[in-house]
Symmetry: C2
Subunit: 569 residues, 2 copies
């Protein structure tokens, strides 16, 4: 932003780049709507009033809101690179995100953060980042990286680092772990907020967590939980993701007194939802449909997040702010006519009109250090009863079940007839190909295998299948693509989706990714499966912080006891 010329334009001393007339301007500071003009110069708002301008656009009485802000999102969940994410959400009105590169940081460490900063540089979507605070998530798996306070230190001075990201390690906070507190102190000394992640935490634990300096939470699932956290001084991010949907439960907490401490976020929103429902606009729409005042719903989508993160140049329609404008046809349904980002029109209707010149950004290093041909998947029988990971429909927690082992030629094998499939997690970082093997019930496939390099949080390769040949083929397919998703049957790949960026992200548009997922899901259903989103389900089975039984490359983890357990009981 060139302040000199912006000041001149604000004073009417030089012509503005653009004057939008006939606007019903939503003022998030006083909650009012007034009819007028918006003068834009050098990508910023010069004045909310008529000024001499080189170009005039008549908005014909449409409402104009500030660009929406997603206060907490993992771009990786859209399974594509930042420029494609931007193309998906800009027409939805989102012009700024505060993203936590937790997934790519787990795979690539600081190289992942470097990649995401570079790949989001100069996009019409403003991408701020919160520094991932918990890499790796646990010590129970082979991880791609470890980010301590020293590794994070150089990033604090980056102009797009806005916060310390969700502090998932609340046991570490409560134990006053030195590294955890050092990360918090680093953020605090820079005046940056520290985001929380504390599902269900209350009472003395919450007091300690807040005392440590944690300023927000996006994991509330109940209104009383959110009210307790607000009263303790936390900002609340109401989340509506693909997996976790909290808007309906939390909307009742919003009041005259606290709305300016509440904001919207999506956390994880998968391609299908981005395309069919939208992004922050979907939350605003839903809130309005539930009776929330549209202006207030928009205030929570704009000003409150900007204030919390200290983003003084966005979040409102006011002089000096970035000209991020959502032009709305109808305030009750939040039907978006067009979106302007940094003073340029980026969409009309649901279509991007921005030139496609934007590249996918720099290449990310590939991490796929394993030889699929060398995988050893045989499980010598060592008993009759085995532990089984039991899927729970619609949830990422799993049961810790038991089953009679299917023993053939002295080996425990899958038994699709009993919906007992083999699950493997293969270390893709060390080159040693450490492989954890277990069994899972609930995928429902008669045969074949699925494999994925998206496996929270360390993103080793995870695969599930009815026989070892298909498992190997599926894993080999993932490795061959340098990361991605596969479905195999009869010893060959039947469908695949390449995710060459860290094994997490495609270079294709969100819509192409969705079609790729659809093809994979079709094959899955042909193999007899009935889950609605088997790859999402699969991606959480290696996350050893979600109860009760999970599998890492190092073995089965009884999450409640936070320890490894043998397969055979």
């Amino acid at each position: 932003m060139q302040l000199e010329s912006l000041i001149q334009a604000a004073r009417g001393k030089i012509p503005c780049d653009l004057l939008l007339t006939g606007a019903r301007i939503i003022n998030v500071f006083n909650g009012r709507i007034f009819s007028g003009s918006i003068a834009v110069h050098g990508g910023a708002i010069a004045a909310l009033d008529a000024r001499p301008a080189r170009k005039v656009v008549d908005l014909e009485g449409r409402w104009v809101a500030p660009g929406f802000i997603d206060a907490h999102v993992h771009l990786e969940s859209a399974m594509t690179v930042p420029v494609q994410f931007a193309r998906a959400v800009l027409p939805r009105g989102t012009t700024t995100v505060v993203a936590d590169p937790h997934e790519i940081a787990n795979v690539l460490g600081t190289a992942g953060i470097d990649y995401i900063l570079a790949a989001s540089d100069g996009l019409p979507l403003q991408c701020f980042f919160a520094l991932s605070s918990c890499v790796p998530a646990t010590g129970l798996e082979t991880a791609g990286a470890r980010l301590g306070p020293a590794e994070l230190a150089p990033y604090w001075s980056h102009p797009r680092i806005a916060a310390l990201a969700e502090m998932m390690d609340f046991p570490g906070v409560l134990a006053a772990d030195g590294e955890v507190l050092a990360k918090i102190a680093a953020a605090e000394s820079r005046g940056k907020p520290v985001d929380g992640h504390a599902p269900g935490l209350g009472g003395p634990g919450l007091a300690a967590y807040v005392a440590a300096g944690i300023g927000s939470d996006h994991e509330c699932t109940r209104a009383d939980e959110a009210r307790e956290k607000l009263a303790a001084g936390m900002r609340i991010m109401i989340r509506e993701g693909t997996g976790a949907k909290n808007l309906d439960d939390l909307l009742p907490i919003v009041s005259d007194v606290n709305w300016h401490r509440i904001m919207w976020c999506t956390d994880d929103r998968h391609p299908h939802d981005l395309i069919t429902e939208g992004h922050i606009d979907a939350m605003v729409r839903r809130a309005v449909a539930a009776g929330q005042d549209p202006v207030r719903a928009i205030q929570m989508a704009t000003l409150t997040a900007a204030e919390y993160f200290g983003l003084r140049r966005c979040g409102a329609l006011a002089p000096g702010r970035r000209a991020d404008l959502v032009v709305i046809d109808d305030l009750d349904t939040i039907r978006i006519d067009s979106v302007w980002a940094g003073g340029r029109q980026v969409s009309a209707g649901n279509e991007m009109i921005l030139a496609d010149g934007q590249t996918a950004g720099p290449a990310a290093p590939t991490v796929m250090r394993l030889d699929p041909a060398a995988l050893g998947l045989a499980v010598p029988a060592a008993g009759e009863q085995i532990r089984v990971i039991e899927l729970v429909p619609g949830q990422i927690l799993t049961g810790n079940g038991r089953a009679r082992a299917c023993i053939r030629a002295g080996l425990a094998t899958a038994d699709p007839a009993r919906d007992l499939l083999k699950l493997i997690v293969v270390d893709r970082y060390s080159g040693r190909g450490r492989t954890g093997i277990g069994f899972v019930r609930g995928f429902g496939m008669d045969r074949g295998a699925l494999a994925s390099s998206v496996a929270h949080d360390s993103h080793n390769i995870i695969a599930v299948g009815g026989d070892d040949a298909d498992l190997k083929a599926a894993v080999a397919g993932v490795v061959e693509m340098g990361g991605g998703l596969t479905a195999a049957a009869g010893g060959r790949i039947r469908a695949k989706l390449p995710l060459p960026v860290a094994g997490l992200m495609s270079l294709e548009p969100v819509d192409a990714v969705r079609r790729g997922l659809d093809r994979l899901n079709t094959v899955y259903r042909e193999l007899g499966g009935r889950l609605s989103d088997p790859f999402m389900t699969l991606s959480f089975l290696a996350l050893p912080v979600i109860p009760e039984l999970k599998l890492t490359d190092q073995g089965l983890v009884d999450v409640n006891r936070f320890t490894f357990v043998p397969l055979f009981v």
Copy 2:
């Protein structure tokens, strides 16, 4: 703050230092009052709940508010050093200030900022500072210092620098002056707010001023002016100082939607008012008396300022925040029972109970480079009509009057019979003793002289009197003290108040300063004067940015034309 032990105390794993029971706790986040306990450890709040504690104090149902914050104050206006200011305002509930060291910076430059940082270090009153943005105020006088972006640069990393102070040079902003914009950019790049000072500014000028990045204003005098500034995105600081009182006029702007963008400040509050009315407590009290909800008045005295300045560890009663507590007997009259700062009780009733061990802090360099004996005060007659500074009762602006000169022996002299007194401003910085001489009507003294080293904004020595001998005696008295106020008559000093710190501040308590002022005012009245506060009036007569006619050491300034004019018409 020791986070480790605070976390342990919050969890109840170790005993807290203190438990305050029987409190009616004012929660500024949700606006509610609830009965409970406050656990304090290591100077911070550990929990709003009972915890094991080494000491228990029963508050017997009294209300507890967070410590008050003055969002914009010049400590120098209290005419004493920070420790004495702290002793005056802590019993009034103020536990944090954001001060602009504008006066001492004008006298001593960076040495003045260094002094005030050192002199406020470790006080129970948290003193944050906004870096003075406009030193010197003008080029029409001999100044003590010049603070450009380079001089300010080293201070941005100081943990108690919270903002860039009031940008009074709004013509410089509107002209996109390079140094002005560089100062703003420096603050912005550090994530620090930029305070404004734009009396009456609206329309295109306001758009330009806000576009430059200025985030607050404390100079509104009318509700519609404040509403326009709020709508443009500025925070409003409602001011109630000794000179400027805006609370009654601005209180009507406060609403459900905007209260969290409005805060209180005193700007300049003189010893008398501090003692008789109080500080921020007086504003809260007055707002409540005017019908404002007490909780909201307290929210604006605490949370809103803390949020604006990013002071995450104060401004609320919540875990992890500094244990700054105002214990209130009666919420309607804001009668203060006791105050706790950083977990220690600092007052009971209106009395400080804190040990007096706190020293006055470091010595400030003296700047008094002139020889009073060498002053030349003779004004050779060069006409019959002279320009006269006309006092306007109750205001700091002055008229640009005319009078027949009193010519004696070829020299223009004072003529007390016509209330025509000689006014001089003597440069105390360069050693050259440059002296501006003019005449003023309105002091009403029959004889004698007053002199002061407090003369906004450059703080040269200003004196007014009926004859040259008394003027010289009064100035010599100021010089001899290394700064201060004097009243002389008959060629000798009749009363004096030493202000040895930069010629602006005493080392004595506020109450002693007030008694010193009272003695001076008594002498003034004995000399025939009738102004209620002659030294305050005098202190603004050298400020060449307030219309219409002012005097600097370089001569008479026609402020409307911003140029020097001759004494004789």
